[in-house]
Every structure is written in structure tokens, then in C-alpha cells.
């Protein structure tokens, strides 16, 4: 092993190699209970308080499948355009590890519930890439270990470990892609975009919290390089512990540059598990295995096969919500948006809010502009998410309506929104309390217009001479005098009338 971590410049990597990716994503389902027992499926909690004889692997205890978990797996498979197996089973994956109470993991092996699908992924520039899905299968999560002694809770150098089995038996779906080839320099971006799209999909389906920070969505990235012009896959590494969307991109990019450096130096890649280091964006090798694992899979005799009827599958297909990419397409068409506008709408997370604002009576363009621009800025300033802002779509729609009927100018409207965000109540309440209504009484406005005209006779001359655009100066003065509460459009009309 080389002592110094060497990497090759990313562009140079691509001169010589084509990257091949394979992504394995584990998603914890948000069922009420675990996959094979009635223990609560909740994150955290006092250690070993969500356990029973089954998930603790006590002698004699038996598993019984959570029907809701199977249902979620099928819905997920359908959303990923997969075939749903008419008959499949769980198997036992046998290996010893203290976080696994039975020393085998109940998992699907050669009979996954869903297989052969795809997910369309939209990249930053709007290009759509189709990622093939090899399979999606059900399995159970392990317990959690706490390593005591040695350096900072790491397994290496620890004196002993403490085990909590609250997580043991939580339902997991593992989604495995087919090899992702031909992406070139976009490979790291595709990896991130795929995991992002998968995350959105799970949210739309409502089957998982997909919190990468809490481990309810975890990604392992397989990366290999093949020399340009060849077609045989190179030796791959599997990078684990990739716990954010950004890390997915970084980990893939790093592995590409690391492997390229090894290969260019005449070395070869070791097939191994590597760990992503969040701090510096590198990967490091895991402990080499003494012997190749032999998991001795065989059908789980304590469970019976799953044979979803066609009727059930079709019924579940009927429960699928509009999927994120379908919705994107529909919204773009319905609202007549450009690719860029569509991307902004969805990337800011404003789509739902805009739709609700439109439902509350606002025109699309205004609703979109408020949420995607002004309110997104407000969310950023406050370091919060758009939906968390203390303003409702109905309130935004009301503000837009008030602008439309001339009660508010844009400037005033922003003040009203600030008032709502500050918790001062509904828009109408804020307007009343702050006295923000547009001055629409012509006599009051005329007084201000006449005053401004009187102070700028040269401008009056210009207007009368046909230079209509000079009216702007007068309008500005009037707006200033009325502290912005006048309707600029009306002021302009009055100025032009007076100068005729």
C-alpha cells in the first residue's frame, strides 16, 4: 500500500479512464414496527428498550413479517419501474458479528421482491440520465455498537464495545443499481443526482424519513475505472459511510482520482471496502479480511414465501402518488415554464407551496416569483427551509391579490410579508396595524403631484415638449413625498394629465 495518498488530477483521470459506478442505497422504512416483530421502529431512545425475544435473537423466538414493510417494498419497486416478483423468499445470510443478534441477517438473496427497473435522474443542467435498477430487496438492520476506550469511539483500538439492539430488525430496503457507465466527468454528479432523486422518491412515497444524518438512508458507492477504449470493468472498491448527498459526489470523485493514480503508477486496485472521511473528503481502506466471506445463504425456514397477487400489486400501483419526475414534467407543461424555471422551482423546494398559492387564487407567475425569489431569500437569511417559514400559501395569495387590486405596491407588499413573517398576523392585520395601504385618493395624490410639478418647471416643459419619459422624475418625487404608499402607475397618469 502506498504510504502517501496520491491522487491524479480529475481531468487527467478522464483522459485515460472511463469510470463505472454501482450504487447500493439502504433505506430504513418508517413503519410503526420492526420487520419481524412488534417492537417500535423509532430512532434513538434509551438503549435496549425497543427489543423483544425476536429482535434480541433469544433462543426459541421466531420472526413474523410486517405486512406494511412488504407493501412499502412493493410500492418502492413499482415507483422504480421494477418487475415485482410473483413469488419470493427471505434467506439467511450467515456471518458472525456482535451487532447481529442471531449471527445471520434475514435478507433476500437470489429472490428479490423487485428487480429490473430504472430511475430517471435530472442533472443540474437539465439533462436526464436513466439509471438502471438491478434490484430492490428487503432485509433487516443491525444493532448499534459503541466502542469504548482507544481513540474517539472508533472500533480500532477500542477496549470493549457496548451494544444496543433498538435498531436491530428495523426494516431496510436495499436498492442496487446496474453498472452506471459512460458518464465521464459527470459520474460524481450523476451519483449525487441519483441519490437525490431516490431521496425525493422515498419522500413522495412516504415510506421513509430518508434522513442521511440519522442513518435512515445510507449509500455505498462502488467505483472502478476502465482504461479508455476497453470494455472490461476494472477492479472495484466499495466506499461505505457516505452520509450526505454532497459526500456521495465527493467520495466518487476522490475514488476516481485515487484509483487513477494507482493505475497510472503501474499498480493495481485491491478489491476492498473503503471508508469515506467526511473531514478531508478522502477514503481509507478497511481492515483486510482474513478469508473471503462465505455467507452460506439458504432459504429462511422460519418464514414462508411472499407471493403478491397481481390484484394486490395493481392495487398498490393505484396508491402511488404522482412521482417526482412525472410531476416536474406536468408542472413544466401546465405552467409553461422553461427548463431553468422548472429547475429553480423544484430545487428551491417551492413547487408544493407555489401550487397551493395558485390554488388559493394567485396567478402562477406571481406565486412562483414570490416563493422562488423573495421568500427563498428570506428562508436563506433565516437559515431555514422554505416550508418552515411562518407564512402560508393563502397569506401569500392574499398579498398578491392586494397588489392586483392596487391596494399594495410591490414595496408595500414586501413590508406586509415581513410583518407576517414577524408574527404580526394576517396580511390585512399587518396593513391595518402598520398603516400600509396605498394612497389611492386622487385628491390627496393631486396635491402631491401639483407640489412636485411646481418645484420642477423644467421637467414640466420637457413633458409638454413630448418627452414623456421625463415624467419619471416627478413620479419619483411624489412617491418620496407619500413615503411609497402611492400607486406609482396612478401617479404617472395624473402627472401626464396635469401636463397636457
Amino acid at each position: 500500500m502506498t504510504a502517501i495518498a496520491e491522487t491524479l488530477d480529475f481531468d487527467e483521470v478522464l483522459e485515460h479512464f472511463d469510470p463505472v459506478l454501482g450504487l447500493e442505497v439502504h433505506v430504513e422504512l418508517n413503519t410503526n414496527t420492526k420487520m419481524f416483530c412488534g417492537c417500535a421502529n423509532v430512532f434513538g431512545g434509551e438503549p435496549n428498550t425497543h427489543v423483544c425475544p425476536t429482535c434480541l435473537g433469544l433462543p426459541g423466538a421466531l420472526p413474523v413479517m410486517n405486512g406494511k414493510g412488504v407493501e412499502s417494498a412493493i410500492r418502492m419497486g413499482l415507483a422504480l419501474n421494477c418487475e415485482i416478483a410473483p413469488w419470493c423468499r427471505f434467506a439467511r445470510k450467515n456471518y458472525f458479528y456482535p451487532d447481529m443478534p442471531k449471527n445471520f441477517q434475514t435478507s433476500q438473496y437470489d429472490e428479490p421482491i423487485a428487480f429490473d427497473g430504472h430511475l430517471d435522474v435530472v442533472l443540474d443542467d437539465g439533462e436526464v440520465v436513466r439509471v438502471g435498477i438491478e434490484r430492490a430487496h428487503m432485509e433487516e438492520d443491525t444493532g448499534k455498537s459503541l466502542h469504548v476506550g482507544g481513540a474517539t469511539g472508533r472500533i480500532h483500538g477500542a477496549e470493549h464495545s457496548l451494544l444496543d439492539y433498538n435498531r436491530a430488525g428495523v426494516p431496510l430496503i436495499e436498492i442496487v443499481t446496474k453498472p452506471i457507465e459512460g458518464m465521464g466527468h459527470r459520474a460524481p454528479e450523476v451519483a449525487r443526482a441519483y441519490v437525490t432523486a431516490l431521496r425525493e422518491l422515498m419522500l413522495a412515497l412516504g415510506v421513509s424519513d430518508v434522513r442521511m444524518d440519522q442513518g435512515s438512508m445510507r449509500c455505498d458507492a462502488n467505483v472502478s475505472l476502465m482504461p479508455k477504449g476497453t470494455t472490461e470493468f476494472g477492479t472495484r472498491t466499495e466506499t461505505k459511510n457516505v452520509n450526505s448527498l454532497r459526500s456521495v459526489e465527493r467520495a466518487v470523485r476522490y475514488e476516481m482520482t485515487r484509483q487513477a493514480a494507482v493505475l497510472r503508477a503501474g499498480g493495481s486496485i485491491t478489491q476492498e471496502t473503503r471508508h469515506f472521511q467526511e473531514a478531508d473528503g478522502t477514503t481509507s481502506p478497511g481492515r483486510p479480511k482474513e478469508t473471503s466471506e462465505d455467507y452460506r445463504y439458504f432459504p429462511e425456514p422460519d418464514l414462508v414465501p411472499i407471493a403478491p397477487s397481481r390484484e394486490w400489486v395493481e392495487e398498490l400501483r393505484g396508491t402511488l402518488p404522482e412521482l417526482p419526475w412525472e410531476r416536474r414534467k406536468r408542472v413544466q407543461q401546465e405552467w409553461g415554464l422553461t427548463d431553468e424555471e422548472t429547475r429553480d422551482l423544484f430545487n428551491t423546494g417551492a413547487a408544493d407551496l407555489v401550487a397551493m398559492t395558485v390554488d388559493a387564487g394567485a396567478p402562477v407567475a406571481e406565486a412562483r416569483s414570490w416563493w422562488v425569489q423573495y421568500l427563498t431569500q428570506q428562508a436563506n437569511t433565516r437559515e431555514t427551509e422554505l416550508p418552515e417559514l411562518p407564512i402560508t400559501p393563502a397569506q401569500v395569495a392574499r398579498v398578491i391579490a392586494l397588489i392586483g387590486e392596487g391596494t399594495l405596491t410591490h414595496k408595500l407588499a414586501r413590508e406586509v410579508v415581513q410583518g407576517v413573517l414577524a408574527g404580526e398576523g394576517d396580511p390585512d392585520q399587518v396593513i391595518a396595524d402598520r398603516g400600509l395601504e396605498v394612497v389611492s385618493d386622487d385628491s390627496a395624490l393631486l396635491a402631491a403631484v401639483d407640489e412636485a410639478l411646481a418645484t420642477q418647471p423644467d421637467v414640466v416643459e420637457k413633458i409638454r415638449g413630448g418627452k414623456v419619459q421625463a415624467a419619471g422624475a416627478i413620479v419619483g418625487a411624489v412617491m418620496k413625498a407619500t413615503k411609497g404608499q402611492a400607486d406609482a402607475k396612478r401617479v404617472r397618469e395624473l402627472v401626464l394629465e396635469r401636463c397636457q
Partner: protein, 500 residues
């Protein structure tokens, strides 16, 4: 009238009428255990306090005029030490579980408690039910009350010896390849393996999950039927539990005892005779067949050619499943831990603990199973064994299309001497030759005493097999046969047992 020599049905009638108290009956059996168990080692653990408390509750109920909780309320029982009992030691005959107090009851245990059956204690067994002689118990062999130099059968030798020695009128066994029937045969008692899925496996510490089945052990067919009805029935905690009504075995036993077998077709399995079969066993079997014919049954010979492959298939399937089932005994969460000196790793402690905690037969089977499931060997061993299972099931189906029940000797020989086969695993395995097919096919089967072998004066068992879910059919034949045999012999076989 000696209480301990009575049948469970007689005891129940006298307890329910108020003539006898359950406490007295339970105490009489506890006294008997105290008196004779030193010579037998049938009980691993005696729970006098728990049994008497349960008995007292039954007595109180009856005194209060409440109907008995079940037809067996108040009649005490010995429970094989492979079923979990909350707060009461459950060792499975293994050193690895010495001192373990399960935090939960098996479903069978729960049903017994709910039925008001006092549990006298836990009966000895081959370690994790692996064996045919009870010599593989880490706590010393159990001896056959007919001749204490001989084995009481296995793995449930504790239960069969307890019945034959009048230490209990009822017992529970578990049968993976014959562990209820073979001990029944060699101790002159009745042992029933119900249809797979008929009795819940929840809390039955698994040896081979697809074969294990708990069942009733008694001294008469009617007693076994009464106990069968107490423990059988659908259990949502066991995925392999059959969700259909329990066959009416008590009614069938009563009907059989009072009637003949006109219209019943009995098939004699031709493969179960010849070389390796003791003459005294074959003679007793022949007499039993004549008795059935005399009762009006039509007897035909049936060939089941694939039964010849049952033994090898069994000794692949059972060890394979056991290698996985016993992986959980790793000294991390419960059970014996050795070598934890603060320096040894978890992996080393696991190996050392499993070495110290398991006996040689368990180790042998774990290694056979590990081998059979290994990549490269799976198809030739485990895979082929599963196919043999299909062939055996087909043989049974063909046979049951011609006859109602099948009969054979339960075991090829009578009880062998302690120590005779311990160093020759293959010789030991032959004891299960006739009993294994029913486990592989999941059918019902039982052993009923057919007399003493003329050549050595030891008990012989008649095996009666019936299709899955037709347990009542074999009870009817067994009860008719028992009644006729006892009448012809001038009393029950058990009455000929020498005094201890």
C-alpha cells in the same frame, strides 16, 4: 389406588369431581421424582414451587365451583427442556445455557399454564435435541426405566423416562427426526408428532426449523389426544403455524377405543424391514399388523422407494439449519462466556465459548451443516437434499391415495445400551431410519406400544403415520389398536415394567 399409576384422563376426572386435589396429585409426582430420579436423571430441573402453585389455583377454581380451565386442568406434566419457561431454567441439555432464565414463555408453555396444567419441571434431552439416546446431554445421560443400563431414546429421553417411571402422567416432547416417537417406542409409551405447523414453535429452541415439531407424550393414546388439544392451534407468533381448526383428535381416540377399524385401509411400508431390523421388533410389528387386520382394517403393502434417501437428506437438512440456528449462542447477549480476560477479542471469546459450551455431537452437526451450505457444495448437498424431500413427499402422496394410514416399526431395534453407539455417529443415526420421512414431508406420525420384543424383553413401538392435517385418523387407529392389544395381553404394557 396409587395416584401416580393412573392415566391423565382418570386423574383429571377425579380432580374435577373434587375427589382428589391437584395439589395432592402434583405432590405425589414430586415425591416420586424425589424417590426415583437419582436412578434415571429424567428431570433437569424440578419446579416444585411453580407446580404446586399452579395446582393450588386449579383446586381453588374447582372449590369455587368454576369449570376447569381445560380437560387436563390439575394434571401435572414434564416439559422438555427445549421449550422456554419464563423465569425457570431452560438449558436445552447444553452447558452453554446453564443458568439462563428465559424472559418469556413458549406458546406451548403459555397454553399449558392457561389450561391449568402444573409443570413439574424440565426434562433431560440430548443437547439441542441432537441425538437418539439422551447421552448427548451435558448433564449426564437419562436411563431407561425398563433397564437402567439402556438408553430411553432421544432426544426426548427425559420425557419418555419420566412417563415410564410414573414421575409424570404427561410430558411434552419435540420431534425433528423422531425425538418423540423413538423414545416413546423404547420406553413403552405413546409419542405423537403432530402435523408440521399444528403446534406452535414459538419458544421452542430451534434445532432444525423446517422439521421441528412439539407434541404430546403420554402413557395412553387418549391422554396424548387430550394433551394434543391443549397445545395445538394457530399461533400468530409462528409464521409456519397452520391457520385451520385442530383435528378432533380426542373424539377420534374415543371413537377408536370403542369401535373397530372396518373400512380403514392400512399400508405397510415395505422399505422398513429386512437388514438392520431386530427380529424381535419385526415379530412384534407383524403381530400388530395382524391385530389391525383382526380389527377389520384392510392391510396392503406399499412401497415408498425414496424413503431410502430420507436418512441422508435429513442429515444434511437438519445440520444445515442447525449450523445457522445455533449461531446465536455466541456469548455476547446470554449464555456461557469463557476467555473474556480483557485482552481477547469478541471473535476469540465467541470461539472459545462455543468450544466450551457445545458437546461433540453439536459440533459435528454444526460443521456438517456449515460444509453443506458452503458455496461450491450447496447444490450437491443442501440442494439435493431439498429435492429428495420433494420425492419423499411424492411417495407419501402416492401412498395416501391408496391407504388411510401407513404403519411401520417405530425404530429398527429396541433400546440399546448406554455407551454402545456414542463413538459411531452413523450407527446412532440409524435409530431414526423409520421416523424421519414424516418429518421431511411434514406429516403426522405417532408411536404406540406394540409389546415386548421376544428376543430381549424390551418395549417395541408401532409407528402410525397419517397425511398432514389428518392427525385424527392416526389417533383413531392407534386407540383401536391399543384397546385390542391391551385386552389381548391382559393389560397395558406399562404395567409390566419392573419396579425401580
Amino acid at each position: 389406588m396409587n395416584v401416580i399409576k393412573q392415566t391423565a384422563a382418570e386423574l383429571a376426572a377425579r380432580i374435577h369431581s373434587g375427589e382428589l386435589s391437584s395439589v395432592d396429585v402434583t405432590q405425589a409426582h414430586l415425591d416420586r421424582i424425589t424417590k426415583v430420579d437419582d436412578q434415571l436423571n429424567a428431570f433437569r430441573h424440578v419446579d416444585a414451587e411453580g407446580a404446586l402453585a399452579a395446582a393450588a389455583k386449579v383446586d381453588a377454581d374447582i372449590a369455587a365451583g368454576n369449570p376447569p380451565a381445560s380437560p387436563l386442568a390439575g394434571v401435572p406434566l414434564g416439559l422438555k427442556d427445549v421449550l422456554t419457561t419464563k423465569g425457570v431454567p431452560t438449558t436445552c441439555g447444553s452447558k452453554t445455557l446453564e443458568g439462563w432464565l428465559p424472559p418469556y414463555d413458549a406458546t406451548v408453555t403459555r397454553k399449558l399454564r392457561e389450561a391449568g396444567v402444573p409443570i413439574l419441571g424440565k426434562t433431560n434431552m440430548d443437547e439441542f435435541a441432537m441425538g437418539s439416546s439422551t447421552e448427548n446431554s451435558a448433564y449426564g445421560p437419562t436411563r431407561n426405566p425398563w433397564d437402567t443400563s439402556r438408553i430411553p431414546g432421544g432426544s426426548g429421553g427425559g420425557s419418555s423416562a419420566a412417563l415410564a417411571a410414573f414421575e409424570a402422567p404427561l410430558a411434552i416432547g419435540t420431534d425433528t427426526g423422531g425425538s418423540i416417537r423413538q423414545p416413546g417406542a423404547v420406553t413403552g409409551t405413546v409419542g405423537v408428532k403432530p402435523t408440521y405447523g399444528g403446534v406452535s414453535r414459538y419458544g421452542l429452541v430451534a434445532f432444525s426449523s423446517s422439521l421441528d415439531q412439539a407434541g404430546p407424550c403420554a402413557r395412553t393414546v387418549l391422554d396424548a389426544a387430550l394433551l394434543h388439544e391443549v397445545i395445538a392451534g394457530h399461533d400468530p407468533m409462528d409464521s409456519t403455524s397452520i391457520n385451520s381448526p385442530v383435528p378432533n383428535v380426542v373424539e377420534a381416540a374415543r371413537q377408536g377405543a370403542s369401535g373397530d377399524l372396518t373400512g380403514v385401509k392400512v399400508g405397510v411400508v415395505t422399505e422398513f424391514s429386512g437388514e438392520g431390523y431386530q427380529q424381535g421388533v419385526l415379530d412384534s410389528f407383524q403381530a400388530a399388523v395382524e391385530q389391525l387386520r383382526a380389527l377389520g382394517a384392510e392391510v396392503v403393502e406399499i412401497s415408498c422407494p425414496n424413503f431410502a434417501y430420507a436418512l441422508p437428506a435429513y442429515y444434511l437438512i437438519a445440520p444445515s439449519e442447525c449450523s445457522s440456528n445455533l449461531a446465536r449462542f455466541d456469548a455476547m447477549r446470554y449464555g456461557l462466556r469463557v476467555g473474556d480476560d480483557g485482552d481477547r477479542s469478541a471473535e476469540e471469546v465467541m470461539s472459545a465459548s462455543r468450544e466450551a459450551g457445545f458437546g461433540p455431537e453439536v459440533k459435528r452437526r454444526i460443521m456438517i451443516g456449515t460444509y453443506a451450505l458452503s458455496s461450491g457444495y450447496y447444490d450437491a448437498y443442501y440442494g439435493s437434499a431439498q429435492q429428495v424431500r420433494t420425492l419423499i413427499t411424492r411417495d407419501f402422496a402416492a401412498a395416501y391415495s391408496q391407504v388411510d394410514v401407513l404403519v411401520s416399526p417405530t425404530t429398527p431395534t429396541t433400546a440399546f445400551r448406554i455407551g454402545e453407539r456414542v463413538d459411531d455417529p452413523m450407527a446412532m443415526y440409524l435409530a431414526d431410519l423409520c421416523t424421519i420421512p414424516a418429518n421431511l414431508a411434514g406429516n403426522a406420525a405417532m408411536s404406540v406400544p406394540s409389546g415386548l420384543a421376544a428376543d430381549d424383553g424390551l418395549p417395541v413401538g408401532l409407528q402410525i403415520m397419517a397425511p398432514a392435517l389428518a392427525d385424527d385418523r392416526m389417533y383413531r387407529v392407534a386407540a383401536a389398536y391399543e384397546t385390542a392389544r391391551d385386552a389381548a395381553a391382559g393389560g397395558a404394557l406399562i404395567n409390566q415394567i419392573p419396579e425401580l
